[in-house]
């Protein structure tokens, strides 16, 4: 289980996260909803070790503290991140991106089998393994980013706004793929603005506002939640 306790984070004077507590079980799919600037991305960055939280032991993986670890060690703990926007190395081919995805020592064993498995999940990428990623469409690049992250053999895959800037039909395809990833037993922690589709794959969700968790519940409950409906689903 990946747990976050009382996590606070500042950028200068700005309090980006204010006592956030979340948890995600192995194999679970959890979505974090919230407006721009609510602190969703900061939460993922803090877990990934990219930003240092205020103090104390606030992030635990299976009971072991991981807050404060340098970011390059996080993948070897079984936590992968697909960052917002650029999750790929555009100058490299698909195959080379996957090779780098398996950089950590954790990912080296069984790398070949995982590559085959990833290509089964993303048959389109298998056809284009020698193509330079820059020359691919936005949706395909996002697939490469996810495939790259999966090569690190994660137990927990964090995705920061995976649907950002993609056409609706591509978003649908992307979330179908995420559904297949989920079936392989990888836990997904998704930050999304596209509430409808992310709730359709999620087990549970959190609502964030101004750096705090202001609500949580099962995906079905959140869909019925009036605050969610008003703020995100365009219902009165």
């Amino acid at each position: 289980m990946l747990e976050v306790f009382d996590l606070s984070l500042r950028y200068g004077k700005h309090l980006a996260l204010d006592g956030v507590a979340t948890n995600i079980e192995r194999g679970e799919t959890v979505v974090i909803l919230g407006a721009n600037g609510a602190g969703k991305s900061s939460l993922l960055k803090a877990i990934a070790g990219l930003v240092k939280p205020d103090k104390g032991v606030q992030i635990k993986l299976d009971g072991n503290p991981i807050a404060g670890l340098p970011p390059h060690l996080i993948p070897s703990m079984g936590i992968a991140l697909v960052p917002e926007g650029r999750g790929v190395f555009g100058d490299l081919t698909v195959e080379q991106n996957l090779l780098l995805g398996a950089y950590s020592s954790r990912a080296r064993s069984g790398e070949e089998a995982r590559r085959r498995h990833v290509y089964e999940l993303f048959p389109k990428l298998a056809e284009r393994r020698r193509q330079t990623v820059n020359t691919m469409s936005g949706g395909e690049q996002q697939m490469v980013a996810i495939a790259r992250a999966l090569m690190s053999k994660p137990d927990y895959l964090m995705l920061d706004e995976p649907s950002l800037g993609l056409a609706p039909v591509v978003v649908t395809e992307l979330f179908e793929t995420l559904g297949r990833v989920r079936e392989t037993g990888v836990a997904l922690l998704i930050v999304e603005q596209n509430v409808r589709i992310s709730l359709s794959v999620a087990d549970r969700g959190y609502l964030m506002e101004a750096g705090r968790i202001v609500g949580e519940g099962t995906a079905a409950a959140l869909r019925r939640n009036s605050a969610v409906q008003r703020a995100f689903l365009g219902m009165a």
């Binding site: 390059h72 060690l73 993948p75 555009g90 090779l99 950089y103 820059n134 020359t135």
Partner: protein, 326 residues
């Protein structure tokens, strides 16, 4: 693919053998030229080893080159030659680690300026030490071997440098280095320890450069800081690597050979205007061939797609369009 690789290796081996036997057929002047050539090919390749993929433009080349040369000057009568070389390499490594640890977090132009300052700092420190502690400025190097031995040592070092570049280029480490230049954040997410990788490569490159200085030192007989810490060497190395293409195995060599011969000719023919011509050439190369000859040739003649891993405007353009598509 493997057949092709074997062929390339065979050709390289024949060329190496021919180069190794060359001194038996050549006069002193030509051997001197070969020493200069191998020296600069090694310097440019070692420079590109670190600066090519990471895009950290280093002007510290002469700092390490000078450290190598000065170590030989200071120790040549104290220690046997192999130990002198080892000492030079060790000092180069130590300086590279200290400098690397303190500067590799600097980005872009700050790194360039720091490395340029470093070369000057080392030179001033050596000068200060010689004036205030030893009381002399200038040392003599007496070695019992001739220019052929210097040449063979450089040839061996050049071969090792090219082999290292080749090995890194086809290794996961080579890819990792490339993407550090592209996007440090995503690279970190892959589990690449960026700081350590950069430091290791910087140190490796610096040790090779130090050894070039150490091996070439006996050519001078008389050495003083102004000679071995001449900043022109840093600029020459940089422009050679850029001309050839810093991201290709053969790129730096491709730039070093013609430029060295050209400079040799220019300095003999126009000794007074040499620096002016040099400056103009620098400008010309950066404007006309920003990605280097190797990338240019591939774009023009090859079926290979243009490699966006260049310094050119084209890569920035292709990246922008890719962004726009997202």
């Amino acid at each position: 693919m493997n057949g092709r690789l074997a062929l390339v290796f065979a050709v390289a081996l024949v060329a190496l053998a021919a180069l190794a036997f060359a001194p038996f057929y050549l006069g002193r002047y030509q051997i001197g030229l070969l020493i200069g050539l191998t020296g600069y090919v090694t310097l440019a390749s070692a420079w590109a080893l670190f600066s090519g993929p990471t895009r950290y433009v280093s002007l510290a080349t002469v700092a390490f080159f000078g450290i190598g040369a000065y170590t030989v000057a200071a120790l040549n009568e104290v220690l046997p030659y192999p130990l002198v070389l080892a000492a030079a390499a060790a000092i180069g490594l130590a300086v590279a680690l200290v400098v690397g640890l303190s500067t590799l977090r600097l980005a872009g132009v700050y790194f360039v300026i720091f490395t340029f300052g470093l070369a000057e700092l080392v030179r001033q420190l050596v000068t200060w030490y010689e004036v205030n502690v030893t009381g002399t400025l200038g040392r003599y190097i007496f070695m019992s071997f001739g220019p052929e031995q210097i040449y063979w040592q450089l040839l061996a070092l050049m071969t090792i440098t090219l082999l290292i570049s080749w090995w890194i280029g086809r290794n996961r480490l080579g890819l990792a280095l490339k993407v550090i230049g592209d996007d440090e954040v995503v690279a970190t997410h892959c589990g690449i320890d960026i700081a350590r990788t950069k430091l290791a490569l910087f140190a490796l490159s610096a040790v090779i450069i130090t050894l070039v200085g150490a091996i070439q030192a006996p050519r001078w007989t008389y050495v003083e800081p102004g000679i071995v810490f001449n900043p022109t060497l840093s600029f020459l190395t940089l422009i050679m690597a850029l001309l050839g293409g810093a991201n290709r195995l053969w790129g730096p060599a491709l730039g070093a050979v013609p430029l060295f011969l050209l400079f040799e000719w220019l300095s003999a023919r126009f000794p007074d205007h040499y620096s002016i011509i040099l400056g103009l050439l620098f400008i010309l190369i950066v404007f006309v061939l920003p990605g280097g000859v190797a990338a240019f040739a591939e774009r023009t003649f090859g079926q290979r797609k243009p490699d966006p891993q260049t310094y050119g405007a084209e890569s920035a353009l292709s990246r922008d369009t890719a962004d726009a598509r997202r």
